[in-house]
């Protein structure tokens, strides 16, 4: 895959995750205990042998920059190619932002300068462990102009993909229809927002759109071209989450507590990399009682944890009880506190005896650094 460059397009629709994205962009939302959402597609690219990755950001990207650094953890701290974080070059005139194609256009130099012949463009909120080699090979063999990745979902999964675009493909794999807003197409094929094409075609789409004042890659670059270009679908069979609501954030998080999901998503076909921290192993004290949970390093656990995910450095004091919850970094849960169906953002403090109770359908979301 030396001949492919990766583009991660950090979506602006971050209002979807409410408080989780009030101070950060969607790409840097914590997920799975120690990761950020972007880690999954980024590690997939690196594991596929892609060594030139551009991350296009728009706003609230400080925590993302801090997380990615110079790409050392992904082995992308390279002299040639490597990792590029590409924020809008100049602030847009008074909030006038037309869409992702405009942002690509403002960095068109980056595409010209890169030596790779192909691009893979993906979103930043896609939870999966993917090796792109198979899709890339399919792209080359089909002779398609564009290959889009999709997943056929089972009926019981529909709820997790409510906000996702659907596509219709023909028997030969050709994409016949693609919806702009979810709801029009009755299809179980979910568009993953991962596209493979020649860099020259991608540049053409960007430059044309700029001339026409079009602005959105999927709507104006792809959907409008469904009949003009040869667009093929490639079916991705692995575990998939597209995080675009607090509800499906919670659901996909809870999926990690299925042993087979944990084993697939974090290990196969490659490892998921993330920024490391100097945390010691987690320590279980006398009274600890932890079952069916995912526990990151640096925790000190004296209480009960059940069906929950703990990020790094969480303290659970004696008698505290955490069930069906997601507890992010450096939270401290006081004695005898009770946390149920709750998402606790970073560095919150829950005092002794306090109760935070949500419902499985409507988990309680507590903001960063909240004190209760």
């Amino acid at each position: 895959m030396k001949n492919v460059m990766g583009i991660i397009n950090v979506s602006r629709r971050d209002e979807l995750l409410k408080d989780l994205t009030s101070l950060r962009c969607i790409a840097s939302v914590p997920f799975g205990g120690r990761y950020r959402l972007i880690d999954f597609v980024l590690s997939g690219m690196v594991n596929s042998g892609i060594y030139n990755v551009g991350v296009f950001t728009l706003n609230k990207y400080r925590s993302l920059m801090d997380h990615l650094g110079f790409g050392k953890e992904w082995d992308l701290n390279r002299k040639r190619d490597g990792l590029f974080i590409l924020p809008p070059p100049i602030h847009y005139p008074f909030g006038y932002y037309r869409g992702d194609l405009q942002n690509f256009f403002s960095h068109i130099d980056y595409f010209h300068r890169s030596t790779q012949e192909y691009v893979i463009i993906t979103g930043s909120n896609i939870v999966c462990n993917i090796n792109f080699n198979e899709a890339f090979q399919a792209h080359q063999e089909s002779g398609a102009d564009i290959t889009v990745l999709y997943k056929e979902i089972a009926e019981q999964e529909e709820k997790n993909f409510e906000q996702c675009r659907r596509i219709v493909t023909g028997d030969d794999g050709q994409v016949l229809d693609m919806e702009d807003k979810p709801g029009r197409l009755k299809s179980n094929k979910v568009l993953m927002e991962m596209f493979i094409m020649k860099k020259s075609l991608f540049i053409e789409i960007i430059e044309n759109s700029n001339k026409m004042e079009y602005s959105n890659l999927i709507r104006d670059g792809l959907i409008q071209n469904v009949n003009r270009l040869n667009i093929f679908g490639f079916h991705y069979a692995g575990y998939l989450g597209i995080i675009n609501s607090v509800k499906n954030f919670y659901k996909h998080s809870m999926d990690l507590l299925k042993r087979e999901v944990w084993q697939e998503l974090f290990y196969k076909p490659g490892l998921i990399y993330t920024k490391v921290k100097d945390e010691p192993p987690t320590k279980y004290l006398e009274q600890a009682r932890v079952t069916n949970s995912l526990i990151s390093n640096g925790c000190l656990i004296e209480g009960r944890v059940e069906n929950s995910i703990l990020s790094r450095g969480v303290k659970v004091h004696r008698g505290a009880c955490i069930t069906n919850s997601i507890v992010m970094q450096r939270n401290e849960i006081g004695k005898n506190a009770r946390i149920e169906n709750t998402i606790l953002d970073k560095e919150a403090l829950v005092s002794e005896g306090k109760e935070l109770i949500g419902t499985p359908g409507q988990p309680l979301l507590m903001g960063k650094k909240s004190i209760t």
Binding site: G32, W262, K277, L285, Q287, S293
Partner: protein, 404 residues
């Protein structure tokens, strides 16, 4: 090279013979410890936490793992434009044959040119194979206050054990009057921790003197310190309080790991103001299965626990199957333990595979710590009662059982 006030020299060449197979492929300072660390992480972290940013690590025995662990010192924040950490293997000089390091003092002697590059006032000499947290900058202040030629850190040991240590007999002002190596009748219980600060010009003089003496074993404890005492150098003892352990034997290594597991351990790994740094593996949070039961234990990333863990230390990526019970043990990275396995008082080497229904525990009458070589597979239903160094041992072990 910009002058450094104090340069640290870490002795990391030890073969650690008494650690048996644990040190077959790596030097003692590289032996894994505490679920995530290697022994040398403690002294390296002490250096950076004490503000000592120029260090030489003297290697000789099986250095590959140590070298790749240390690299340029990034994990310990010791990758510095001036100073940082340098690995110092033995080498060949022009027109000479190569010389291996013949003793601790000889190792420093052969690297005088390295120390001189920093033109330091003081040199801190430490062993890379002790477990402790210590602020060397306070000891350096003490050394300067006393105007000492050498300061030796000492720790109070139980009187009954004093005969196992190098004991310092001191005057009221802390000056060292006498040094006795493993005295049969100790006059004092202040044991040397093997942590020395020397005023560099003085040490240099004694290194040359020692080198000129063909009878010397060129050891700090046996030769340099006694000679300095004899010639009335200003030697002081610096009292240290806190946790300190030489993990030179299987038993002491096991004990030091177990020491971490009490609710309030003397050695606190969770203090954010005195972090122990190490290379961080990139593995997912560990997974506690529905039937997991873990207490009094430390568990690192990437583990999947379906069984019961009591009073044990688990390194990265360990799998423990259902119905298995692990007690008072140390399980190193990437060990796979099947279902219904029992392990007690054992150290399981990296990458070992223990199939279902095995029992690894010594007889009550023979409570040695069982050591299991890494990268070995123990077949189903095996009963292991003593240390396994190779698959042949396992055979022997099994025959003994069938005979019994």
């Amino acid at each position: 090279m910009i002058q450094k006030k104090c340069v640290a020299m870490l002795l990391a060449g030890g073969a650690g013979k008494r650690l048996g197979i644990l040190t077959r492929d790596m030097a003692k300072p590289a032996v894994p410890f505490g679920g995530k660390y290697r022994i040398i992480d403690f002294t390296l972290s002490n250096c950076t936490n004490s503000g000592i940013y120029a260090a030489g690590v003297l290697t000789q025995y099986q250095p590959l793992i140590l070298n790749s662990h240390i690299g340029t010192g990034i994990p310990w924040d010791l990758d510095r434009k001036n100073g940082g950490v340098s690995i110092l293997p033995p080498y060949v000089q022009q027109g000479e044959k190569g010389k291996w390091y013949e003793g601790t003092a000889n190792a420093i002697f052969q690297n005088i040119y390295f120390i001189e590059r920093y033109n330091p006032e003081y040199v801190l000499v430490i062993s890379g194979d002790h477990i402790y947290k210590m602020d060397y900058s306070l000891m350096l202040e003490y050394h300067e206050e006393k105007g000492a030629d050498a300061t030796i850190a000492v720790i109070e040991v139980p009187w009954g054990e004093a005969n196992r240590f190098g004991i310092m007999n001191t005057g009221e002002d802390g000056s060292i009057i006498e040094f006795e190596e493993k005295p049969s009748k100790p006059k004092n219980n202040l044991a040397s921790m093997g942590v020395y600060i020397f005023t560099w010009p003085v040490l240099k003089k004694y290194l040359y003197k020692d080198n000129d003496n063909p009878k010397s074993s060129s050891d700090f404890g046996k030769d340099i310190i006694p000679l300095m005492l004899k010639e009335n150098s200003r030697l002081y003892a610096y009292p240290f309080r806190g946790y300190w352990k030489d993990v030179g034997t299987i038993e002491s290594l096991w004990e030091a790991n177990m020491d971490l597991l009490s609710d309030q351990p003397e050695l606190d790994l969770y203090d954010r103001n005195w972090r122990i740094y190490s290379v961080n593996p990139n593995r997912p949070p560990h997974f506690m299965g529905p039937s997991a039961h873990v207490h009094h234990s430390m568990v690192n990333e990437g583990c999947m626990i379906l069984g019961t863990i009591h009073h044990s230390v688990l390194f990265t990526g360990v799998y423990v199957g259902e119905g298995s019970e692990i007690k008072d043990s140390i399980i190193m990275s990437n060990v796979k333990i099947g279902s219904n396995v029992k392990i007690e008082r054992a150290i399981i080497g990296e990458g070992a595979v223990i199939e279902d229904h095995c029992q690894i525990a010594s007889d009550a009458k023979n409570p040695e710590i069982i050591l299991l070589k890494g990268e070995i597979t123990i077949p189903e239903n095996s009963i292991v009662k003593s240390t396994i160094v190779s698959l042949r041992d396992l055979q022997v072990n099994r025959e003994e059982q069938s005979l019994a």
